[in-house]
Symmetry: C2
Subunit: 240 residues, 2 copies
């Protein structure tokens, strides 16, 4: 068995190396990559089907790297090892995992024991292992209990990118009014109206900009989600 480690922090990288060696005696080779781009290349070269991947990296983030790796080999098993359980990350990961693929999501704050257990479960038993905390996020996100539907998330992305209503309508194939409807839903759910007092003269928020900030503060959005959305937008602009 070969295991590929993709992680930009040298300390974390060597810690992972050690953990992999200890948890998986049957692993004869450990390869290290220090950013997403190198990770993709090494995965291709070594035909490695077992990857441990950091999400937040400078050069090319983990979600991007995982996506191209899975596109080339959908049966690759990937364990995401991240500092955060932001909804933006969790959502980003679940969007790209292929049907039936074994993967995992473990927080860096987990104990040695948990990490090693996850390594064995995924790489040997082909089971999915999702950290408790992350799991909670996932359910809150997918279940519509208090979470956000895909369409609401979509429009959140669009206003975060700074598109006008009309541009959003064209991009998503909707009428102008429908876009504005969804915006209202979004404002509702993000609870943007709180400090908008009745008096017109009182301090009030620009709902559109406020929504983005509130989403950021609630970690529905983060830098890497923005980055991804921005490059998708550039792609779409080229076509149009």
């Amino acid at each position: 068995m070969k295991v590929l480690i993709v992680e930009d922090d040298p300390l974390h990288r060597s810690y992972l190396h050690e953990a992999v060696s200890a948890a998986l005696p049957e692993c004869e080779t450990v390869i290290e990559a220090e950013n997403g781009t190198m990770g993709e290349k090494l995965a291709r070269d070594h035909r490695s089907a077992h990857v441990v991947m950091d999400l937040q990296m400078n050069n090319r983030n983990g979600i991007e790297a995982a996506r191209t790796i899975w596109k080339e080999r959908p049966d690759t098993r990937i364990l995401f090892w991240s500092n955060y359980s932001d909804e933006a990350y969790v959502r980003g990961v679940s969007r790209i995992v292929p049907d039936g693929a074994a993967y995992g999501y473990v927080l860096k704050s987990a104990s040695d024991e948990r990490l090693k257990l996850a390594l064995r479960s995924i790489f040997v038993e082909a089971q999915c292992v999702i950290d408790r905390e992350v799991r909670g996020m996932q359910q809150k996100s997918l279940g519509q209990a208090k979470g956000f539907s895909d369409s609401e998330y979509e429009i959140l992305i669009d206003i975060a990118l700074g598109l006008t209503d009309r541009a959003i309508a064209r991009r998503r194939g909707l009428s102008l009014r429908s876009v504005q409807n969804r915006l209202q839903q979004l404002y509702e759910k993000l609870d943007v109206y709180q400090n908008a007092s009745d008096d017109h003269e009182d301090s009030r928020f620009n709902l559109r900009a406020r929504a983005v900030t509130v989403a950021m503060l609630r970690k529905l959005l983060n830098y890497s989600a923005l980055e991804r959305a921005e490059s998708e937008l550039a792609e779409w602009l080229k076509l149009g």
Copy 2:
């Protein structure tokens, strides 16, 4: 000499501990805190005047912690040790450093040697040590060459928070038109007009929202800056 380490990542914390011990034989005690809140408390309890501080922490970020530490003892020497040289961080730090205080800013990607040198320079020699890359950011930021003036940065924060023009005017003590003038300057500098084609029917951006996103992508803003701005805003709202 006592040295206080404030860093939430256990691996980094123990690495720092070792580096401090090696670089400063005259240091008889090393204290560790795993978040900003604990850092403030331990600095107070131990009267430690030598601090190594991570910037990005969950509970209470480094800038906040440093601010309260410096407020209580302005002669404290603090070395910031961070993954990033985002303009938002650099600006945040330079806003809070007291006159004449010795401090440093070293990136985590720096070599062992650089870190140890910085530790000695700051804690023993009371000199300021700013990483090359960070320094560049600082000059780009303070010099008005291509950087942002304080007033532009201020208004960027305000629209990022989602305030209306009127609210900004009241908060900053300006007329409505002046606020809009500054916004135009900001849009100019952020180069938000690029994809706004001449035809009114073509895809265009909502300048206000777009400006915030561009600033995020350029790292003029980041999560912790937003967080700080949000709590300042809450403060201001209470008074008003």
